[in-house]
C-alpha cells in the first residue's frame, strides 16, 4: 500500500529534491534552445515517473476500495468482485487465443460512458444553455440601467449566437443577408479564439513563473541552492550540446526494396 504521505518530501531528502528539481527544470527548458540528450532524458524520466505513480496509486485505490478498510468482500458483499474480474480481463490483450475476451471490458466501459455522457451532455450542455439564452432579459426593471446595461449584454449574446451558428450553415451559399450574418459570425468566432489564445498565453506564462519561483526562491537550510546549481546545470547543457554537435551526422537509411506481388522489386 502506498503510504498516505506520498506527496511529502521527507526532510532528509530535501536537498536531493532541490538539486534534482533544479537540474530537471534547466534540462527540460533547454529544449527551447535546441533538443538535446538531457532534455530528452528528463522528458522520458517524467513520463516514466508519471506512469509508475499512476499505476501504483490506481492499484492502491482499487485494493483500498475493494478490500482494505471497508471489508466489503469479507462481509459477504461479493458484488465488489465483479469489477475486479472485469478489469482483469484487460490482460487478455496479450493472448492471441483469448483476445476476444479483452473486448468485453472495453465494451462495458464504452457503453457505460456513452450512456452517462449522452444524458449529462443533453441536460447540462444543451438544454440548460438553450434555456438560458431564450430567457435572456431584454425588458424589465434594471435591464437598461447602468453601464454597460445587462440588456446590451443580452443583445450581443443573441446576435453572436445567431450569426456564429449561421457561419456553419452550408445549405445555401453565403450571399446576401446570410453572407452578412456569416461575416459577423466570423468576427464573433475570431473574438472567441482570441480570448482562448489570451487564456493560453496567461496559463503558460503562469507555469513558467512557477518554475522561476522554484529556481529563485527555493531554499534548503537557509541556503538558496538553486542559485549555485543553475550555472552548473546550464554548463552541463552546453557541454552536451557541443558534444552532440561534434558527432558526425548519421546519414538517413535508404528505404528497403519491397518485393511486388509478381516478385519484382519496386
Amino acid at each position: 500500500m502506498i503510504p498516505p504521505n506520498v506527496g511529502q518530501i521527507p526532510p532528509e531528502l530535501g536537498l536531493f529534491a532541490t538539486i534534482f528539481g533544479v537540474f530537471a527544470t534547466i534540462f527540460i527548458y533547454s529544449f527551447l534552445w535546441k533538443e538535446n540528450p538531457l532534455s530528452r532524458a528528463v522528458e522520458h524520466l517524467f513520463i516514466g515517473l508519471a506512469a509508475v505513480f499512476t499505476l501504483g496509486a490506481m492499484y492502491d485505490a482499487a485494493l483500498t476500495q475493494a478490500y482494505w478498510g471497508t471489508d466489503r468482500i469479507i462481509e459477504g458483499n461479493f458484488m465488489w468482485i465483479i469489477p475486479i474480474l472485469i478489469s482483469l480481463m484487460y490482460f487478455f490483450f496479450f493472448s492471441k487465443k483469448y483476445f476476444f475476451l479483452y473486448r468485453y471490458p472495453v465494451s462495458i466501459v464504452a457503453g457505460i460512458m456513452a450512456g452517462m455522457m449522452i444524458c449529462g451532455q443533453i441536460q447540462s450542455n444543451f438544454l440548460v444553455q438553450i434555456q438560458s439564452t431564450v430567457t435572456l432579459p431584454l425588458v424589465g426593471e434594471g435591464v437598461w440601467e447602468g453601464w454597460p446595461p445587462p440588456g446590451l449584454d443580452s443583445i450581443i449574446i443573441i446576435i453572436g449566437i445567431i450569426t456564429a451558428l449561421s457561419f456553419f450553415f452550408f445549405t445555401w451559399e453565403h450571399k446576401g443577408a446570410l453572407g452578412i450574418s456569416t461575416k459577423i459570425g466570423r468576427y464573433f468566432l475570431m473574438a472567441t479564439f482570441g480570448a482562448a489564445y489570451g487564456g493560453t498565453v496567461m496559463a503558460r506564462l503562469s507555469l513558467f513563473i512557477g518554475r522561476l519561483t522554484f529556481l529563485y526562491q527555493t531554499s534548503y537550510e537557509d541556503w538558496f541552492w538553486a542559485w549555485y546549481l543553475i550555472p552548473i546545470a546550464v554548463i552541463c547543457v552546453i557541454i552536451v550540446a557541443l558534444w552532440e554537435r561534434s558527432k558526425p551526422t548519421p546519414t538517413p537509411p535508404t528505404p528497403e526494396t519491397k518485393p511486388t506481388r509478381k516478385g519484382k522489386s519496386e
Partner: protein
C-alpha cells in the same frame, strides 16, 4: 524591415521573456491590482454561506498546473476554515491526492490530520477512483464512492461524513480544476442529477486556458464564480488579506511578473502584425 522581423530567431524572444519576467523577482514593481467580478463572486458566495455549511473541495489538477491551481485551493480552504464552514476535501485526479494532503497540512498545520477539527469540520478523502463515474457515485452516495479517507480511516467513523450522505447535503461545490474530470463533469453528473444550480452551487478555480470554455456555464448560472488562473488566485488572496489578514500568500507576489510577461507578448503581437502589414502592403515578400 518586414523581412528582418520575420527572421528574428525565436530563441532571442525566449531570452527576452526570461529576463523581463525575472526582473520583478529581484525588484518588485508593486503594480496596482483590481479585483475582478468573477473572483469577487467566489468570495461572496463562500462568505454568504452560514457557518456549519458543507463545502466539497475537489482537487482535480496535477503538478503541471500547481502554480495556478494551488493558490486557489489554499486560499479557499483557509477561507472555509476562518468562516467555520465544514469541508469535505477529495480528488478525482490521481495526481491530486498528494497535492490535497500537502495543502491541507499548510492550512491546518503540519500535524494534519491529527488536528482537533478532523472528522467534524474537515475530512480528506484523498483520491476517489472512477473519474466521471466516481463523481456521479459520490453525488449519489458519498460512502459508496470511497470506503476510507486518505489516511485509512473508514468513512463511517467520521462524523462529518454522516452529515454529508449525498449531493442533497452539499451547500457548495468548489472545483479546482485544470482539465477532465473538471467543472463540466460536476455540472453534468452531480449538479444536473440533483436539482440544478440552486441545489448544488458550484464555484471554480481553473487554469486560465480553460476559462473561456467555462463562460457559457457561468452565463447560464451553472457556475457562480470563477478564479481565473494565477490572477484569480492573487485577487482572492487580496480579498482574504483585507478580511482575514491571510498569511499564506502565494500568487499575489507573482502577478508583477505575469503583467510584465503579458506586456511583452502584446508587444510581440503588435510588432509581428506591423511586420506582416509592411510585407503585405509595402511590396515585401508577402505581397
Amino acid at each position: 524591415m518586414a523581412l528582418s522581423i520575420s527572421r528574428i530567431d525565436r530563441r532571442y524572444l525566449y531570452l527576452l521573456l526570461f529576463i523581463l519576467v525575472s526582473i520583478p523577482f529581484l525588484y518588485p514593481l508593486k503594480l496596482p491590482l483590481t479585483i475582478g467580478v468573477h473572483s469577487r463572486l467566489v468570495y461572496e458566495v463562500t462568505e454568504g454561506l452560514p457557518p456549519g455549511s458543507i463545502v466539497i473541495s475537489s482537487v482535480d489538477f496535477g503538478p503541471s498546473t500547481l502554480t495556478e491551481n494551488r493558490p486557489h485551493l489554499k486560499a479557499h480552504l483557509f477561507h472555509c476554515k476562518e468562516h467555520e464552514l465544514k469541508v469535505v476535501c477529495l480528488a478525482f485526479w490521481i495526481s491530486g491526492g498528494p497535492i490535497g494532503d500537502d495543502v491541507l497540512r499548510e492550512v491546518y498545520g503540519s500535524d494534519f490530520p491529527n488536528v482537533p477539527q478532523y472528522g467534524t469540520s474537515i475530512v480528506y478523502l484523498g483520491y476517489v477512483p472512477g473519474n466521471e463515474v466516481g463523481m456521479q457515485t459520490f453525488g449519489d452516495n458519498t460512502v459508496l464512492a470511497k470506503g476510507t479517507d486518505h489516511y485509512g480511516t473508514p468513512v463511517g467513523d467520521l462524523p462529518l461524513m454522516q452529515e454529508c450522505a449525498s449531493a442533497e447535503d452539499f451547500d457548495l461545490w468548489a472545483e479546482w480544476t485544470s482539465g477532465t474530470p473538471g467543472e463540466q463533469q460536476v455540472i453534468q453528473f452531480v449538479q444536473g442529477r440533483h436539482g440544478g444550480p440552486s441545489a448544488v452551487p458550484i464555484v471554480v478555480g481553473s487554469t486560465a486556458v480553460s476559462v473561456p470554455g467555462m463562460m457559457p456555464f457561468y452565463a447560464a448560472g451553472q457556475i457562480l464564480g470563477i478564479l481565473n488562473g494565477l490572477a484569480g488566485g492573487g485577487e482572492y488572496e487580496q480579498l482574504l488579506i483585507d478580511a482575514y489578514e491571510y498569511p499564506l500568500v502565494e500568487a499575489l507576489p507573482l502577478l508583477d511578473s505575469q503583467s510584465v510577461g503579458h506586456l511583452l507578448i502584446i508587444a510581440f503581437v503588435i510588432i509581428g502584425n506591423i511586420g506582416y502589414a509592411i510585407s503585405k502592403y509595402g511590396g515585401g515578400e508577402g505581397s
